[in-house]
């Protein structure tokens, strides 16, 4: 019996105009947007490759350690085509040196970017699905029960020995089968375009499968919302209006409204101030020690003469937004003054004292900074995200971002890797005794050999990590589905036909 019902419903759904229209528009939007996104991704990839080459060249051109520029770049994530998340927005270039701990908020942007481009919001495949799938679900569901009730066919069906739950189940299964057609077809087209120009790994395909499954849960949730409206109302006209306004509110109004309700709090400023003071103290302490060393006549001799001879440039400041301490010491000499030789041992002593000091100060400041940055930047965003999850759009967006690895955690993985790389570089400097070497400050005996420096590599975390991050939201979607379905069954069983 169930089979017969499903068959009837399937036929009913497939032969409608709305099915054809929805299929067409979904295909069109997904294919067009994918083409645009692929072009954009390739541009970003090219600019990444150029930047890597340029930074490598810059490093090799650095003659001394103290004036070296070591930069690492972040490659664009190919899955940002599905959900761009923070991938395009945040910095993709950060400097590495011992007197500074790189963070997400210090990162800069390399490449062809016109700052005004940020003006146009970027659309990804998930955004297309967010809007279209939800609309599809509601359009297919609003008259499922109310329409049959109006036409009187519901009575006829219920006159048969069928349980009411079965009718709902049949409707749900057949509608979902129909709705999956545009979803799967458009994704296949997108993948076809994608694999032609971007190589994807097995893990990437698994991640895409996760995104597809999440999309399915999202679609089903909106179908059930429509079904609930359809069961609860008497007339299709009313059901339709309710469904449309619910859609407008959940998709259009609510996500944009939360920004207005959450007030950027004043205690962020307070927090920044206290953390800055703490870090400033660490930096001051470093400066005190450094100056004390310079004033020590038995080691340095006349400090001002020494500073002039090696053309010492120092900087020790705390960035007032990102709280990062910048502790720099460098000798800006290209040619050797004739009486320089007597300063070489002093300079060696100076740098081998001061650079480990800077390293330690930056490490110490990091402990304070880490906590403060979370409070200043992250807490607000996490709160926004949580509020956003009151609408299914928010849950769907968060889950797909986690799958694609373009969420905050995914990006933080990269910056964790840069901090690990900073440690590697510091270890390398210690191992090669660079701080106390002549090449640290002058290149008269040949420039620094950078070929033995370990290169920076970054691999995205495996698909298991993505799954772990996405599953809570996915479960939330599934639970919403289940609860809604049970609610619908209850209402339908108790309602009069």
């Amino acid at each position: 019996m169930l089979k017969a019902l499903i068959g009837r419903e399937l036929l009913n759904n497939l032969m409608t105009f709305r099915f054809a229209a929805v299929l067409l528009i979904t295909l069109l939007l997904v294919v067009v947007n994918t083409a645009v996104l692929i072009q954009d991704y390739e541009q970003r990839l090219e600019s990444y490759n150029n930047a890597v080459k340029m930074h490598h060249q810059e490093l090799r051109n650095s003659k001394t350690y103290s004036t070296a520029y070591l930069f690492v770049d972040r490659a664009p994530n190919p899955l940002s085509i599905f959900n761009v998340g923070l991938d395009k927005r945040l910095g993709n270039l950060t400097g590495i040196y011992h007197g500074f701990v790189p963070t997400l908020w210090d990162a800069q942007m390399h490449g062809t970017d016109n700052p005004f481009i940020a003006f146009f919001s970027s659309i990804d495949i998930v955004f297309v699905f967010e809007v279209i799938l939800s609309l599809m679900g509601l359009i297919f569901a609003y008259d499922a029960i109310a329409g049959e009730r109006e036409r009187g066919t519901l009575r006829l069906v219920l006159a048969q020995p069928i349980r009411r739950g079965q009718i709902l189940l049949a409707k749900y299964i057949s509608a979902m089968a129909c709705l999956l057609v545009p979803l799967i077809l458009s994704l296949l087209f997108a993948l076809l375009l994608l694999t032609r120009s971007i190589p994807l790994s097995t893990d990437d395909f698994l991640r895409i499968a996760g995104i597809v499954f999440t999309s399915f849960a999202y679609l089903s949730l909106f179908y059930l919302i429509g079904l609930l409206i359809s069961v609860a109302t008497r007339r299709t006209g009313t059901a339709l209006m309710l469904a449309m306004f619910v859609w407008g509110f959940l998709i259009l109004v609510y996500p944009n409204l939360i920004r207005a309700t959450v007030n950027p709090s004043a205690d962020v400023q307070e927090r920044t101030k206290t953390a800055k003071n703490q870090i400033q103290q660490i930096v001051d302490e470093y400066e005190r020690e450094r100056k004390k060393f310079l004033e020590n006549k038995s080691v340095i001799g006349d400090a001002s003469q020494f500073i002039e001879a090696v053309s010492l440039y120092t900087d020790a400041h705390v960035d007032s937004v990102t709280l990062s301490p910048y502790l720099e010491n460098m000798s800006l000499i290209s040619e050797i003054p004739p009486d320089f030789e007597k300063y070489v041992p002093i300079a060696k002593k100076y740098y081998s004292f001061v650079e480990p000091l800077a390293t330690n100060a930056a490490d110490k400041a990091w402990l304070v900074q880490k906590q403060a940055l979370d409070d200043i930047f992250v807490r607000q965003a996490v709160m926004d995200r949580a509020l956003l999850k009151l609408s299914p759009v928010g849950i769907y967006d968060a889950a797909t971002q986690a799958w694609a690895g373009t969420d905050l955690l995914g990006l933080r993985d990269f910056f964790d890797a840069t901090r690990r790389y900073r440690r590697v570089v510091i270890d390398y400097l210690y191992a090669t005794d660079a701080f106390s070497s002549r090449e640290w400050f002058v290149a008269d005996k040949g420039p620094v050999d950078w070929s033995t420096l370990p290169r920076f590599t970054f691999e995205r975390r495996d698909v298991g990590t993505n799954a772990k991050r996405a599953l809570p939201d996915l479960f939330l979607l599934l639970i919403c589905n289940l609860v809604l379905f049970m609610g619908i069954v209850l209402i339908f069983i108790r309602s009069e036909v």
Binding site: S47, D113, F116, A118, S121, L252, V253
Partner: protein, 467 residues
């Protein structure tokens, strides 16, 4: 007769669920908009006033002409628009300050100040979810247009389904009377709650003493309101067109919704990103390369020619003056080229998006509210005009002193007399309604054209359709 049909429509609508929902939605959004504006605007104005007063004081404290010519006014602040609540215009992505730049030619020779339009990528530290600001542009562009479609999708096809259309047309009523009646009915029944919501919004905003809305702003608001009504008519006409061509109201709704989604939600962004891919402006790496090359060349040239002036101090001063003005001019030209390329890219993308009425209305709102990209360009122009004025002032002051050698850019070559600080020209960012009108003329004409096409389309469709 038209009025009779319109009245029937209005009564039908007033009792319907969609009217109630639309009213609640519009009022809720407009109230939120007003509250947010009241919360944010005073702080914005305060920040602007503090910054510009401090700047003015620093400028006035200069008495030496050379310092004034070299260091200039430091920076320029954009004045926040009082009509920020109408269109936010992506203000977070636009710089609100233009800084100046002084470049080094050689160790002891610097250029005069010139405008530096470079600024950091916005959003680099923003990890909060992407949202559209709830301004009038959002409420009207997205929500009101959706409501217009929901009010008209069944106005012909629904009556046809119920059979009442035959009854109406059996009377001695011409078809266009019916169509106009229906159009007017829908227009009135949406614009009444809309107008009330707008009035409530303005009432809430104008009750606060912190936010001043002047006469100029009121006329701008009037224009914006008029444009919103045009936009509303556009979507009503679209709804009637589809409704009279399609026989089932369900199908008509599906078509309208899909059209709405493509034109309003997707088209502006997709077209903009496609169009901005066509041109690639100078990258910042390229800019810096050219910048460094420029000053390295100038420096070498200067050093080479400096040898000839040994022992002749007047010649030396002349040479320095020459290179200061060369360095300033070339640096200015380079940075201006960079900015012009960036602006051209955005301008192209923006003109392509004009196919979408939602983008049109966004542009129009920005123009008349004095926010957004148009206004930013105007701000840049204002600053450029001021920069010229400032240079002229320096030249005039120098010329007025007979003891000066009239070599601008070198301390020894310029007037040593202290200057009257009151006479220094000051910068004030201004908006002009006529200029905004000119900028918006194309958009406005396009909107009217779309409206005319859709209205005549609806008329033709309804006149020729079988009942």
């Amino acid at each position: 007769m038209i009025w009779h049909i319109a009245k029937r429509e209005i009564y039908d609508n007033l009792n319907s669920l969609r009217f109630a929902l639309a009213t609640v939605l519009l009022f809720g959004l407009m109230l939120t908009n007003a509250v947010v504006h009241l919360r944010e605007h005073p702080a914005r104005m305060q920040k602007y006033h503090d910054a510009s007063t401090e700047l003015l004081n620093r400028l006035r404290s200069r008495t030496d002409l050379y310092d004034l010519a070299q260091l200039g006014p430091e920076k320029f602040h954009k004045k926040p628009s009082p009509l920020h609540f109408c269109a936010d215009g992506g203000e977070v992505f636009l710089p609100d300050t233009i800084y100046i730049l002084i470049s080094r030619i050689t160790n002891d020779l610097n250029t005069l100040w010139y405008l530096s339009y470079r600024y950091q990528m916005p959003n680099l530290k923003n990890i909060r979810p992407n949202t559209i600001k709830v301004d009038w542009g959002f409420v009207i562009g997205y929500v009101l247009s959706l409501i217009a479609l929901l009010f008209t999708f069944d106005s012909i096809s629904g009556e046809r389904e119920q059979g009442t259309l035959r009854l109406t047309l059996a009377n001695s009523v011409s078809r266009h009377t019916v169509l106009i009646g229906k159009f007017l009915g829908a227009l009135v029944s949406i614009s009444v709650p809309f107008t009330l919501a707008v009035l409530m919004n303005l009432l809430v905003i104008s009750t606060s003493s912190d936010v001043q809305v002047g006469t100029d702003a009121w006329s701008r608001l009037g224009i914006i309101f008029f444009i919103s009504l045009l936009y509303l008519c556009l979507f009503l006409a679209l709804g009637l067109l589809v409704s009279s061509r399609v026989h089932q109201s369900g199908a008509s709704l599906v078509i309208l919704l899909l059209m709405w989604v493509s034109f309003v939600v997707f088209m502006p962004s997709t077209l903009a990103s496609t169009a901005s891919g066509f041109s690639s402006p100078m990258t910042s790496e390229e800019y810096w390369e050219r910048y460094e090359q420029l000053y390295a060349e100038l420096g070498d040239e200067y050093n080479a020619r400096l040898q000839d002036t040994r022992g002749v101090p007047t010649k030396r001063i002349e040479l320095r003056g020459e290179y200061v003005s060369k360095g300033t001019e070339r640096g200015e030209r380079l940075i201006h080229e960079h900015l012009a390329q960036q602006h051209a890219q955005i301008q192209l993308a923006r003109s392509v998006t004009r196919i979408s009425p939602a983008a049109l209305i966004q542009h129009l709102f920005e123009s008349f509210a004095g926010t957004g990209f148009e206004q930013h360009q105007q701000f840049v122009e204002n600053v450029q005009v001021y920069a010229r004025e400032f240079r002229e002032f320096v030249t005039d002051m120098d010329r007025a002193d007979p003891d000066s050698r009239h070599i601008i850019g070198v301390r020894e070559g310029m007037s040593q007399k202290p200057i009257n600080s009151e006479a220094i020209p000051t910068f004030e960012d201004t908006l002009s309604l006529s200029r905004d009108f000119n900028a918006a003329a194309v958009d406005l004409l396009l909107l009217i054209l779309f409206l005319a096409v859709l209205l005549s389309g609806a008329y033709l469709a309804f006149v020729r359709v079988e009942v």
